[in-house]
């Protein structure tokens, strides 16, 4: 009995140890098995060397990164990934006084935010020419930044009928047009009512292109095409072989409403809309189209031949034309392949009417006739950029990586992990006819754990990848403000920004260049103060007005020295202007509060900057 019990206890102990051993072998490791070994010391040294730009040295490339819902553009130097400046576009920015002076306030209109996703550098013959930078705003707008002074010069729109301008601002190879497209279909014109049950028939999408003046860059209305109520996502203009065409991806070809994450993900293929923009421009010139919302809109039923639909799996995001213009790469974000369409086959299919049906009168081209390859790049392909020698780089949101593959052979040769969840990517001049290679920046959505913690509002991450060799190498982590969607990288030598506004070019009628001319004049209840800003006095040092006066202050920074900016901050009146050297800015406001309000130079200028101050003296009514 006793012996039996002992045996039983022994067996139980052995079994317990065996189970524990088995379980311990099965418990989760502390890190994923796929986790790569940390880079070796020599790799780090190479990475450090490749990204180190010594103090005083200059970067090789500019990176213009979109600021997303911050409404701005961030300028970086590559390869240092140093943030050089912020260009305010759709949002006031006290740092440069943007959105406070009359001109920029008027440009912003009633909107004080924008959602800026896709910057596009102006092109000549398919190459960046360094003249302008365009960027979209979801609020149906398009902005132009002049790269001579890195300033926003025009905000065009809101453009009628375009609701949620996401598929924008991609430009054509000679900057004839910048694309626009509605991500959120609505009944048009804006202001029209239709119940959500009538979504499939009464809601309309629009793809469009705005015209750009070849000399001044001025944006004006080009054309709009009435589209089925899909969600138009991204675009790209054809180049070289495919010049004259523009491509727009869309999701929700289901025409679904409600919980789109499910309802809009049912079909295996959505579409890429192929637009013959020359034909569309010609139709507008000929006076075709219906007036909707004050502009001429082309209805493909009435104007055939301007748009075709190419099936593309599944809920495609990016559509990117290869440098030679031969391939159109559509990246279905809910699948494991990216699709390469052959432009010549698309043309043949259109000629032969090789269609499988239509959507609201728009022919749907037979997928099998135009597809050259489905490239197994990995999960969640979003967007593709190009390098020299036929290399393509596709971002993989779900795999959190970048895949490198070859045009033509469709061979996937390398992958580099991204931290984490890469959205777009930007290679050096990687969407032009002559990509530069060398560097690629992954614009990632999540960054957790890669930087000092800054609380719940986490920065995004922009990671620099060396693509100069066979294997891609991650060489730098940079952290960016919300939220880089897409970026443009251009050789620094292509830009020649000015550093002061030459006096001779200042044509502002209120500009003055001598402190002797500064002063206050009154015309009824309108007061005009002409102000000179120069080290280290704001002249006049006092401006006296009566309560209720409309005060216009026109200030000229008469400096012609690099970096000598002066500010004009007026306390309690919510005014802060910054004038660059040689610049005149005007602000108009009602002096509705009586009392004495200091104004002072807000932009540090000199040893006697603190003394650069004065008073707005508002005499009360009583």
């Amino acid at each position: 009995m006793k012996r039996h019990r002992k045996t039983w206890i022994t067996w139980a102990a052995v079994a317990a140890v065996a189970i524990a051993a088995a379980l311990s072998g099965r418990c989760a490791p502390s890190a994923p098995k796929s986790k790569k070994a940390p880079a070796g010391a020599s790799d780090l040294a190479v990475a450090a060397q490749k990204t180190y730009v010594a103090p005083g040295d200059l970067d090789e490339f500019y990176l213009f990164s979109s600021g997303g819902h911050s409404g701005q553009i961030y300028v970086y130097g590559v390869p240092s990934m140093r943030h050089l400046s912020t260009i305010p576009v759709f949002t006031p920015y006290p740092g440069t006084g943007y959105g406070f002076d009359d001109e920029s306030r008027k440009m912003l209109g009633n909107l004080t935010w924008g959602d800026a996703h896709h910057p596009a550098l102006s092109e000549t013959a398919g190459d960046y020419d360094g003249r302008w930078l365009f960027i979209n705003d979801m609020n149906g707008r398009l902005a132009r930044i002049d790269l001579r002074d890195f300033k926003t010069k025009q905000i065009f729109g809101p453009v009628p009928n375009v609701s949620g301008n996401h598929a924008s601002s991609f430009v054509t190879p000679n900057t004839e047009y910048a694309l626009m497209g509605s991500r959120f279909s609505i009944p048009i014109p804006k202001g029209t009512y239709a119940p959500i049950e009538k979504y499939a028939t009464d809601y309309k999408g629009v793809v469009a292109a705005m015209k750009i003046d070849p000399k001044t860059g001025e944006i004006s209305y080009g054309f709009e095409i009435l589209m089925p109520p899909f969600d138009y996502d991204l675009g790209d203009a054809g180049k070289k072989l495919s010049e004259g065409w523009a491509f727009f991806t869309c999701y929700n070809s289901e025409r679904a409403t409600g919980k789109l994450e499910v309802t809009a993900s049912q079909r295996d293929r959505d579409y890429i809309a192929a637009v013959d923009w020359r034909a569309a421009a010609k139709a507008i010139e000929e006076g075709k189209g219906d007036m909707i919302g004050g502009v001429r809109v082309l209805d493909p039923k009435k104007v055939p031949g301007v748009v075709y639909l190419m099936p593309c799996g599944k809920s495609p995001h990016g559509v990117d034309v290869s440098p030679d213009g031969k391939y159109i790469i559509g990246s279905g974000k809910l699948q494991g392949v990216t699709t390469a369409f052959n432009f010549e086959k698309i043309q043949t299919a259109i000629r032969n009417k090789d269609f499988t049906g239509d959507e609201d009168g728009i022919p749907v081209i037979k997928y099998e006739s135009i597809k050259d390859a489905e490239i197994p790049v990995g999960l969640g392909p979003l967007h593709t950029q190009f390098g020299p020698d036929g290399w393509a780089y596709t971002s993989l949101f779900l795999d959190s990586a970048i895949a490198k593959w070859k045009l033509g052979t469709w061979e996937v040769v390398d992958k580099v992990p991204m931290s984490y969840n890469i959205g777009h990517l930007c290679a050096a001049e990687g969407d032009t006819v002559s990509p530069k290679g060398k560097y690629l920046v992954g614009l990632n959505k999540l960054s957790h754990g890669r930087h000092l913690s800054v609380g719940p509002s986490q920065p995004e991450s922009s990671q620099l990848v060396d693509i100069s060799e066979e294997k891609m190498k991650l060489i730098y982590d940079a952290f960016t403000e919300p939220e880089p969607h897409y970026a443009q990288m251009i050789e620094a030598k292509k830009l020649h920004p000015i550093e002061v506004y030459p006096k001779d070019e200042n044509k502002d009628p209120l500009a003055i260049w001598d402190v002797k001319d500064a002063g206050v004049t009154r015309n009824g209840a309108n007061v005009l103060a002409k102000v000179v800003l120069v080290r280290s006095t704001i002249t006049p040092t006092a401006i006296e007005v009566n309560q209720g006066d409309t005060v216009k202050i026109a200030m000229t920074n008469i400096e012609q020295t690099t970096d000598e900016l002066h500010g004009f901050g007026l306390l309690d009146y919510n005014i802060n202007i910054v004038c660059d050297p040689g610049e005149t800015k005007t602000v108009t406001f009602k002096a509705d509060k009586a009392g004495v309000f200091p104004y002072y130079c807000t932009n540090f200028c000199s040893a006697l900057h603190q003394e650069m101050q004065g008073y707005l003296i508002v005499k009360g009514k009583s």
Binding site: V534, R535, E559, T561, L608
Partner: protein
């Protein structure tokens, strides 16, 4: 027996040979660059001005580097220490120096055609006087700028002498001041004139000696 004074005036009366005349003509030509190019250059470096601020002084005007902007910048900086503004209008020298240079050129030309050894001596003394006076005048100008500082200046600095020639550290600035092409041309005039005088003198002496031998 001639007295030494008689001998000297004999030497000075001797009309010029070819070589000194040619040298005089060369000196006349040298007045052209003296007028057309800067006489003096000043360059200032400070940490915040790594490219330097530059100023050129001609016989008749003041110019600044960077399209004139450097002069404006120098004046902006100088107003903090109460220094008088540097303007072309402020230099009386700019009125008389070009006139004197022109007059000298004419006198040199006259000497080249009608000159005697004595004319050369006159010219040499006159020219030396002109050169030294100009240099003193320029130096005094610099002294005045550095010493007549407005008592209301926001930054008080002890009166100072900007460098006339060479390098000097003034507050956060390294100041370099050197003669420029125009001054070298004027110096070359002096050398040419000196050479002409030397040659003329030597020939006159040789002539006089020959005369004495013949007379003896």
């Amino acid at each position: 027996m001639k007295t030494s004074l008689e001998r000297l005036s004999g030497l000075l009366d001797k009309p010029l040979e070819t070589a000194p005349r040619v040298l005089l003509l060369a000196a006349v030509l040298l007045f052209a660059p003296a007028y057309l190019t800067p006489l003096w250059k000043m360059t200032m470096f400070a940490p915040q001005y790594p490219d330097g601020l530059r100023m050129q002084i001609y016989s008749y005007k003041l110019t600044g580097g960077n399209g004139g902007q450097d002069i404006k910048e120098i004046n902006v900086l100088n107003h903090y220490i109460g220094m008088h503004e540097l303007t072309t209008a402020d230099f009386a020298e700019f009125k008389w120096i070009p006139f004197v240079v022109g007059a000298l050129a004419l006198v040199f030309l006259r000497a080249a055609l009608l000159g005697r050894t004595g004319t050369l001596l006159d010219l040499f003394v006159l020219y030396l006087y002109f050169g030294l006076f100009s240099l003193w005048s320029f130096g005094y100008k610099l002294y005045s700028y550095g010493h007549n500082l407005a008592p209301t200046a926001s930054v008080k600095v002890p009166p100072f002498m900007p460098p006339l020639m060479g390098f000097k550290k003034l507050a956060n600035f390294e100041v370099y001041s050197y003669p420029s092409l125009g001054s070298y041309a004027l110096a070359a005039v002096a050398v040419t004139l000196g050479a002409a005088l030397f040659l003329a003198w030597r020939e006159a002496r040789a002539d006089a000696a020959a005369e004495t031998r013949v007379a003896g």
